[in-house]
């Protein structure tokens, strides 16, 4: 168990980790009421919270935390409240993901003592190993490990790990990554557990919430429309037949092989969808597993692992994978797409 005295989380630390109890305690002692948020001095907090929610709506990264610890902690708390009132699971998840990602980067940069302390606050049982084993200096409780495993394959897979008496050896970066997963759930649970029946919102906050709600509604609609378009007849024109086929298979709930998912995700990312949008597309599949799909799509988008962004397969590769369904006289499915779009816009010019 990490000793509290051993670790001194500085004030700046608290602003990186506004979810830990010390930070939240601090806010409580300030005794701020919701109505205070409408007053000038606290406007910054409301603005920051709105920025966080908007980042989740747009599916983009969160800005760095405020240097003012109280502002950050209060904004975080207010963000959770706004999300609770908006009450959309998908949006909540998008925020949890974005926030965890920002935090994960901070955690990976902490010294061991602080990292252990923070993970402990997320109920992830982790110990500093008494001796380093094969370069691993920490061990995580095996059940916490499997509950927060980012993906069940490769070096993460439990069969491939050094497992001993209920502990799994990990390095610091892996520990931070597990913490990121745990934090996602922590945030979602926090929002779940919030009670808002008795909360009185001042008018100004209400109109903010309404604004954000309708922004999210529009965003959702455009995601769904983009998806519907790709699925319906109109796609036959712009999307190459191979991609259109995969899409209709996903839609029909067929078991689509990994290679086909890769082809589809990399294609959609290349034509301008972002990770969140692609995930919304995949989420209509019946066997959709958000955790695994997210990991894969982020990997393809270059946000994970090597950081390399993957281009869709060439026609030649598509053919060997058995995904090519026509002979379009192009070398690359993207070429088909661009050529079709160009042709179409020329038509419109005329």
């Amino acid at each position: 168990m990490p000793l509290k005295a051993e670790v001194i989380l500085s004030i700046t630390d608290l602003s990186k980790y506004p979810f830990i109890p010390e930070a939240l305690e601090r806010v409580k002692t300030l005794g701020i009421e919701l109505t205070d948020f409408t007053a000038k001095p606290l406007k910054g907090i409301v603005e920051r919270a709105a920025t966080y929610v908007r980042a989740a709506i747009d599916g983009v990264e969160l800005p760095p935390p405020s240097e003012d610890i109280d502002e950050e902690v209060l904004s975080f708390a207010l963000t959770l409240l706004l999300l609770k009132v908006i009450g959309d699971r998908m949006l909540t998840r998008r925020f949890a993901v974005a926030f965890s990602k920002r935090t994960g980067a901070f955690m990976a940069g902490e010294d061991n003592g602080k990292l252990v302390y923070i993970l402990d606050k997320l109920n992830l049982k982790i110990l500093k190993a008494s001796e380093t084993k094969y370069g691993y200096d920490h061990k995580v409780n095996i059940f916490d490990y499997v509950n927060n495993i980012p993906e069940g394959k490769g070096s993460w897979k439990l069969v491939h790990r050094l497992v001993e008496k209920g502990w799994v050896y990990v390095n610091k970066y892996e520990a931070a990554r597990l913490g990121e997963e745990a934090l996602k759930e922590h945030i979602e649970n926090k929002i779940d557990e919030m009670k808002i029946e008795d909360v009185q919102f001042p008018d100004e906050l209400y109109s903010l919430i309404e604004g954000l709600s309708s922004e999210w509604g529009r965003r959702l609609k455009s995601i769904r429309e983009a998806w519907a378009m790709t699925v319906q007849g109109s796609s036959e024109e712009a999307f190459p037949p191979c991609i259109a086929t995969i899409i209709s298979n996903v839609k029909a709930g067929k078991n689509v092989p990994h290679s086909a998912r890769f082809a589809l995700a990399s294609f959609l990312l290349s034509v301008g969808m972002n990770v969140e949008d692609v995930l919304s597309v995949f989420s209509s599949a019946p066997d959709f597993n958000e955790k695994i799909a997210r990991y894969q799509v982020e990997h393809i988008a270059g946000r994970r692992g090597s950081g390399k962004k993957y281009l869709p397969y060439k026609c030649e590769n598509m053919r060997t994978l058995g995904l090519c369904v026509a002979d379009c006289k192009v070398k690359h499915p993207l070429m088909y797409y661009w050529m079709t779009l160009r042709r179409r816009s020329k038509k419109e010019e005329k």
Partner: protein, 373 residues
Amino acid sequence: MMEKAQLTLSSAKGLFQSYYKQLTVGDIVVSSLSKREFAFSYFDEGGMHRHISFEETGKLLNHLRASSPKHVYYSTAYYLYPSAKDMDAKGWEGADLVFDIDVDHIETDCKSAHDQWRCKTCNTSGWGNVKACPHCGGEAIEKRTWVCETCINVARDEVFKLVEMLEMDFGLSLHELFITFSGHRGFHIHVESPAVRVLNQDARRELIDYVKGLGIDIRVMLVKNKGGFKLRYGANSSGWYARISRWALFMLGAEDPVLNLRDWEKIFIGSMKKEAVAIDENVTIDTKRLIRLPNSLHGKTGLKAAPFTVNELEKGEFIEKVKVFSKEEIKISTGGELPKKVLDLEISSTSRTLPFYVALYLMLNGAPIKINV
């Protein structure tokens, strides 16, 4: 001479009743009983009665005594409202981690002595275990399976392997493992520790793969070394690395050898054959499973789902612990072939008497037998 009476399925209910009458509160070993869903099926009517809950052990016991069910199940899950009809309304709060070892899923030599199949397409039948009809190739196969001491010993060895893994790798202690006879062809191992109750399905899947040695990738576990390959974590490691190293020591006399990929593959396969545990993953992955109540009777065997300690299993005490009804030899008549071996008994085709508990098992599980009492 007395009039000959015959034991029928419905009179078996009376036998079950005599068992449940002497059962006490101490025999019902279900933790957090009021949070569990119970389910029953009865001798005199078909179907399963689900979504039943009891505030306390005594009330469950009363129900068992009053109705003498054929089968009794309870949920491995804990619910806020265990008797809610709609699964989503039950308020799932967690579930035990349960492993099921069943010889249905394991090849044993004795199956040709006691298991029967019949092709639904061409009506050919035979002994042993087939996936498709050898006569017409049809896959609609009806099976009647039986258990014998050989089966139980095979299942027991799997339990030992599992227990070793749960202790050495998962860090669970023996007193956290609750082992019971499944009532027919295997064992259930329940873990109720708080840390496992909250495991989601992905996490359980990962533990299943570990126990069964699934997804082991030789390229992840080996590293290049001096023109060959070596285990990434060598002789003094733990987990599957230690198992594979152990097998290398056994086969080659070296625990940390440098080998080519082909030779490593043989070591990996050998190790997995020996150490992977044959669990039925469907039971472990399901967080809303119904499972047989410990110390209740199995309606198709008349045997008790008795709890076992590892120690008792090691000593090989089995039949004595699961047998409820008497050993007294009773007269039988048969209308067809009986399995040659069930429980602890070899049955010859000329047998005209059998111990009562064996005869009852044969009758309950559908053998062509009449019991005269």
